[in-house]
Symmetry: C2
Subunit: 248 residues, 2 copies
């Protein structure tokens, strides 16, 4: 298996050390080699290395220290702005300011991000994805000065690891793979698929630390709560509309 796929773990502690010359360009080049919609490359990548800018991102990425520690933050954006401007400059009339193309551009951005992540890891670097990108999209738009037609989708921090955590557990293949058709889950069958996970010492500890009897309750009551989900969901949808992706 590709080494960086096999050995992927999210790294949250980084050495105070810049990337060696040329590596960042190689990572960015790898990103652009990913499949994308109609070879339109409807994404942009914003590189943050400036200490002050990183500090601002850190504040908005829920003050996760790795954002400050790691020398590089890449923010992958869905971008119909560049392509649309090129169309107009060519006497063509673009119509990509809608939900479908927001989605296509999102897929492009994520495919590029995963190539970047794997190529970084292949070069001995650590990475971590930041799910907070969508939560705080409005602020990130301000910090990175993203114009209409551009939305931040996801981010990765990149740097030399200062930790080597264990590989994270995954559900067994049969939990996420369906042959020929989706086999829906019954209460018993779904419990069984999560049994190994729930019985891991690390997961028992995780539930205990969070004062919960059941692991699932850590997700619903602590990490990703109903009120927060609804709040950030409405907020993100508004931002997507405001950036000009809902002109159906």
């Amino acid at each position: 298996m590709i080494n960086s796929i096999q050995n992927h773990r999210s790294i949250r502690q980084y050495q105070n050390k810049k990337l060696e010359n040329g590596i960042l360009e190689q990572i960015l080049l790898a990103a652009t080699k990913a499949s994308n919609t109609g070879n339109m490359q409807i994404y942009s990548i914003i590189v943050t290395q400036d200490t002050e800018k990183k500090q601002k991102l850190w504040e908005n990425h829920f003050k996760q220290d790795m954002v400050n520690q790691a020398p590089v933050v890449l923010t992958f954006c869905a971008d119909i702005n560049r392509f649309s401007k090129w169309c107009k400059a060519s006497g063509a009339e673009p119509a990509y300011d809608n939900f479908l193309w927001f989605y296509n551009a999102t897929i492009d951005a994520v495919l590029a991000s995963q190539n970047a992540a794997l190529e970084a890891e292949e070069n001995g670097l650590g990475i971590c994805y930041l799910g907070t990108t969508t939560y705080m999209a409005d602020k990130i738009i301000d910090i990175l000065e993203l114009p209409n037609g551009v939305i931040p989708v996801t981010s990765i921090v990149i740097g030399y690891p200062a930790e080597k955590p264990e590989l994270t557990d995954r559900l067994p293949l049969e939990a996420v793979v369906h042959y020929e058709k989706y086999q829906d889950y019954e209460e018993d069958s779904v419990k069984e698929l999560y049994e190994v996970k729930e019985n891991l010492e690390s997961m028992k500890q995780f539930a205990k630390e969070n004062g919960k009897e059941k692991l699932a309750q850590v997700f619903t009551d602590v990490r990703y709560k109903k009120d927060d989900n609804r709040f950030f969901s409405t907020k993100f949808l508004d931002i997507v509309k405001k950036q000009g992706f809902f002109n159906h």
Copy 2:
């Protein structure tokens, strides 16, 4: 650079040959090793190998022959159903039926897909992404029997290549990468970034075949037209709502 990143090209012609034993499982395993939201793995992968099922998918993927030719089609789905069922079975109350979690689950599905694609290529297989997955999401939901809380995001076909096309051109790095802040494009600067692309013999040929003077017009007037974009956009949004992802 990782070999399968460096040498990626989309393959649209396949040998009539099944995957060697064990490779599919390795590809699927690689998919599950990707980063994902809170290690919740809110995606599912549907494997289609059955000839009749593939025929049905082919009809809906705009009759692209590779869907029939390739021995395997993987459909990557955003899936909050399994996780929500597990929560309920654990006495926890899930609230992931909203836009933010549709988006999180989409990112999970795409990260998994790119791991699968790269691992397939690393094993000498060819792949091609199917952008038609969202266009025809309603039919694909029927064919694969996807329940509420599950949406097809993207698909890849996998098989032994029967062609070796040239690497596809990409925009220069400076077209898609921005340092510290987004540098918006002016009419002149954007033209310049697309100059090499527009002057490629293959792109000139592509415009000519489509009866267009300018390359951009092939996209706006032939491939991804305004009326089609709006039609499929509204349709896809309706499906996302119908599958239960808009309960804000």
